[in-house]
Every structure is written in structure tokens, then in C-alpha cells.
């Protein structure tokens, strides 16, 4: 399984990779903004993308729109500090498969990831 982790924080990217490393993932790419994520996604069409919202160059919701244009069946898990219902609903309407609010525990992340790949 190919996983793309998108977050402007390398601490968060590394934590997500560590927490998910035993989940049957064979290849992980990381991007620190939406532009870089789109370039990687267009090349490899990862099975799962974890996507932050507040990022430089291109924010996560714009990136989500572009990913859904490339692949309407994309599985995108939003992981954001923006803890409000309206933003979560907006992300789901745009095509996100799930929305997790930071801070997240490793167990919470693994559970959401398993639900996503079993869907």
C-alpha cells in the first residue's frame, strides 16, 4: 500500500509514519504543502493520503479538491488542528473520507486508518 503524508510539520509527518508503519504500508511519501503533495499524488496515485489543512503554498482543502479531480475515488483522511464542525463537514462534502482533530493519539490514528483501508 502506498501512503502519502501531507503536513507542514515534520514532527507530525514522522509521528504519523511511525504510528502507521505496521499497518501493511509498503511505501510512504511525505509532502510539506499542497503543491508538493499534488505533484507526488499525480505521479503515484497513493491508496491513502493523510492531509493537513493549514499549510503554506497550497492549503489542504484546495489540495483535496485537486486530488479528487485526479481520482474521485481517492481515500483522504484530513488531520487538522481546526476543531470546528463546519470545517469538518466542508472537508467531507469535498470528498474527504474522514476528519481527525489534532492532537491525535496513535491508537486513534491506527483505528481510523484501518477503517479507511477496510472501506
Amino acid at each position: 500500500m502506498k501512503l502519502l503524508i501531507v503536513d507542514d510539520s515534520s514532527v507530525v509527518r514522522r509521528a504519523i509514519e511511525r504510528d502507521l508503519e505496521s499497518g501493511g504500508i509498503i511505501e510512504v511519501d511525505q509532502a510539506e504543502n499542497g503543491e508538493e503533495a499534488l505533484r507526488l499524488y499525480a505521479e503515484k496515485v497513493h491508496e491513502v493520503v493523510t492531509l493537513d489543512i493549514t499549510m503554506p503554498k497550497m492549503d489542504g482543502l484546495t489540495c483535496l479538491d485537486r486530488i479528487m479531480e485526479i481520482n474521485p475515488a481517492a481515500r483522504v483522511l484530513i488531520i487538522s488542528a481546526l476543531r470546528d464542525r463546519a470545517t469538518a463537514i466542508d472537508a467531507i462534502k469535498r470528498g474527504a473520507s474522514g476528519f481527525l482533530c489534532k492532537p491525535i493519539s496513535p491508537d486513534e490514528l491506527r483505528e481510523s486508518f484501518q477503517l479507511l483501508i477496510n472501506d
Binding site: 510539520s9 515534520s10 514532527v11 509521528a15 481546526l82 470546528d84 482533530c101 489534532k102 492532537p103
Partner: protein
């Protein structure tokens, strides 16, 4: 922004530190008012706020606390880049979580990180600057909330 609103950020700080290690207690000391908003420990993550409120939310900490947090996160990096990244991410998390109370019109910027007291960030003047001391593993960091 008034005294009651500060509780939103304290709740966020408790949530953040509990997520790192639920067995450790974050001690939140009584907030106080500071005349001037500025970074005052070694590393400061600054989030600009616009929309429903205007100003900044900051998390300022010394290396020792940031190393402790990185260790708890099982991140083996101990370099300057990791500390800057972490302090910015904590500020981002605490300010982003405040949308639970203030809604999506509480707009936040990407983090700006200051090392030492020097920063190019322009803090608004003539507002109340709340400082919340946060003690964790015998070390103290501060949450600075400067919002109109």
C-alpha cells in the same frame, strides 16, 4: 477577548499534553497580564489570527521542554529544526483547537517561529496580553494569547 475566553486555550493545552503522555499532569498556573506581547523563552511559535478576532496566539518554551516533548513523541531528532518545527506545531494546534469555541471565522496563519526575543511578527498594541504558565515534567512553558 476576555478572561473567560482564555479557558478555551487552557483546555486545548491540557488536551495537547495529555495526548503526549496521559500519565503526566500539566499544571496550569493562574494567567497574568503582560504589558507587551513578545517572545520570551528560547523558542516561540506564533500564529497570526484574523477574522473573528485579531492578534496572535503563541507558545514559548525552552530547549529542555521541547526535547522532553520530542522524546515523548519518540522523535529522535534533537536539532534546531526539530525544536522550531515542534514549537510552531504546538502553537498551531492550540490556536486551531480554539475554533471549537470561536467557529470557522477564527482564522489562523501558518506558524512563524522566533528564536530568542527577535521576531519580525507585528503584535497588535493596546490589547490585553494574557500569559498562561504551563508546567510539565518540572519545566515551564507559556501560552501567550494576544487577541482583540
Amino acid at each position: 477577548m476576555d478572561d473567560a475566553d482564555i479557558q478555551v486555550f487552557i483546555t486545548g493545552a491540557r488536551r495537547y499534553f495529555e495526548s503526549i503522555d496521559a500519565s503526566l499532569i500539566l499544571v496550569v498556573e493562574p494567567p497574568f497580564i503582560k504589558d507587551r506581547a513578545e517572545p520570551f523563552l528560547e523558542y516561540t511559535g506564533i500564529i497570526g489570527v484574523s477574522g473573528r478576532a485579531r492578534g496572535a496566539v503563541c507558545f514559548t518554551a525552552n530547549s529542555s521542554m521541547l526535547f522532553s516533548i520530542l522524546g515523548s513523541l519518540k522523535d529522535e531528532r534533537l536539532d534546531e529544526a526539530a525544536k522550531c518545527d515542534l514549537v510552531g506545531e504546538i502553537a498551531n494546534t492550540l490556536s486551531g483547537n480554539a475554533r471549537e469555541e470561536f467557529g470557522k471565522e477564527f482564522l489562523i496563519s501558518i506558524p512563524v517561529v522566533a528564536i530568542g526575543r527577535q521576531t519580525t511578527f507585528h503584535f497588535p498594541s493596546e490589547i490585553r496580553n494574557y500569559v498562561v504558565p504551563l508546567s510539565w515534567r518540572s519545566q515551564t512553558a507559556y501560552l501567550l494569547v494576544c487577541l482583540e
